[in-house]
Structure formats: structure tokens, C-alpha cells
Symmetry: C2
Subunit: 127 residues, 2 copies
């Protein structure tokens, strides 16, 4: 799908089974069979899920005899956190600016919606 890693990571974590596998991998590395055990799907399906996680860089696999232990690569979390935090901070700052605007707005103002302005239309809508 989307070529960039961030898209692949988000996409990989959009599946509850895959998120659960990640959560279990924070406790310990595990093999495909071990990972598959709790779920009501075939081992092949889990193998596919792991491929998705691996392609996204969320996990890596090493070889150990006939087993292929799956290991969590925690760094990708930073990638997501960076994206999220960046825009959250922007959004929060924007709300701060919006507060200022609202505070300085007279009550009897013309109700014409201020278009093009970086400001919420405010028809008594959401918080």
C-alpha cells in the first residue's frame, strides 16, 4: 500500500490481533506458533500478520534452529510519537490562539462567518 514507513506502521497497528501481538512481544520474544496460540485463526494467518508487522519495521525475526523468534523493534514507536506529538502541539497552540481571539471579540459582532480566517466558525458548536 502506501510506500512510506509511517503509513505502514499505522496500518500495521490498525489491526487488534497485531496490536495484541505487539503488546505480548513487549513482555518477551516469541515464535510464530506461540503467538498464534491464543487466537482463533490459523498459524498461516498469524504468519501473514507478522509479515505486515515486519514490513512496517515493527518487529524483526532472527533464526534460531528451526524457529524464527519474533522481536519487537521499539524504535518505530518513536516515529509515531513524533508525528502525533508534533501535530498535537500545533493543535493545542492553535486553540490557545483561538481563545485569545474569542476573548477579544465583541458581543455585538456581525454574525457573518469569517472565511479564509484561521479561526473556528463557532456557531456554538463543539467545545
Amino acid at each position: 500500500m502506501a510506500a512510506d514507513q509511517l503509513s505502514r506502521v499505522f496500518s500495521a497497528l490498525a489491526d487488534p490481533i497485531r496490536r495484541d501481538m505487539v503488546s505480548r512481544l513487549t513482555v518477551a520474544d516469541a515464535t510464530v506458533n506461540e503467538l498464534a496460540e491464543p487466537y482463533d485463526v490459523t498459524v498461516q494467518a498469524v504468519s501473514k500478520h507478522l509479515k505486515v508487522l515486519e514490513d512496517a519495521g515493527v518487529v524483526s525475526r532472527t533464526r534460531q534452529a528451526q524457529r524464527r523468534p519474533v522481536h519487537l523493534e521499539a524504535e518505530v514507536f518513536d516515529l509515531m510519537t513524533k508525528w502525533i506529538e508534533r501535530y498535537r502541539r500545533q493543535a493545542e497552540e492553535r486553540y490557545r490562539r483561538l481563545d485569545d481571539v474569542l476573548r477579544s471579540m465583541p458581543e455585538d459582532m456581525d454574525p457573518t462567518p469569517p472565511r479564509e480566517e484561521p479561526r473556528a466558525p463557532e456557531t456554538g458548536a463543539q467545545t
Copy 2:
């Protein structure tokens, strides 16, 4: 289309266009047409993207005459951050513990990895 919100949020942000729209919405609310302008897809496609973001709770829309301004709901970022940080912290702590284990492990040890019973009521030979 997993039912839970976290899945929907991750899935919604797995698309580059949708992430870009979110990033632009941190600057200011915008209408569908405004949002569609930079992309090489039809307005209808953007409308669909917005529905995905709205169903995930990432944005909300109010009615304003015939326009439907799109507003970013920054709280969902917390949802993701919580999930991510939780497991990242677990993973980091695990690595710390693993270091201890490795330090105290004799060379001639059985190569079976020390596993800590993640959650499944395992019958396997796990420590």
C-alpha cells in the same frame, strides 16, 4: 474495519492524504472543498476520506449554511499516545531486565529462551 476506536484511528491515519489533511487542520478548520484543493483526487474522494476520519473521531463537522467546516478533535491523539507509550515503556523495561538476565547467564546454559508467560494459559514448557 475493526470495531474499536483505536483501530479506526490507526487505520484512518495510515493514509498519507488523510494524515496531510489532519496536519492542515491543526492550522485551521477547513471546508471539504478547501481540503480537496491540493490533492489530485475528486472532491467526492476527499469527502470519503473525511468520513473515515470522522468515524474514527479524529475530526468533527458542524453545519454552517451549505458548508460543513471540518474541525480537528485533538483528544484522539491522547488515545494513541497512551497506547504507544504504555507498550514502549514496557518494552524498555523489559530490555533492562533482559540485560540483567544476560549478565547473570552462564555460558553453558540451555539455549531455551527464558519466557515469562505472556497471557495465554500456556501448556508449553515456559519458565
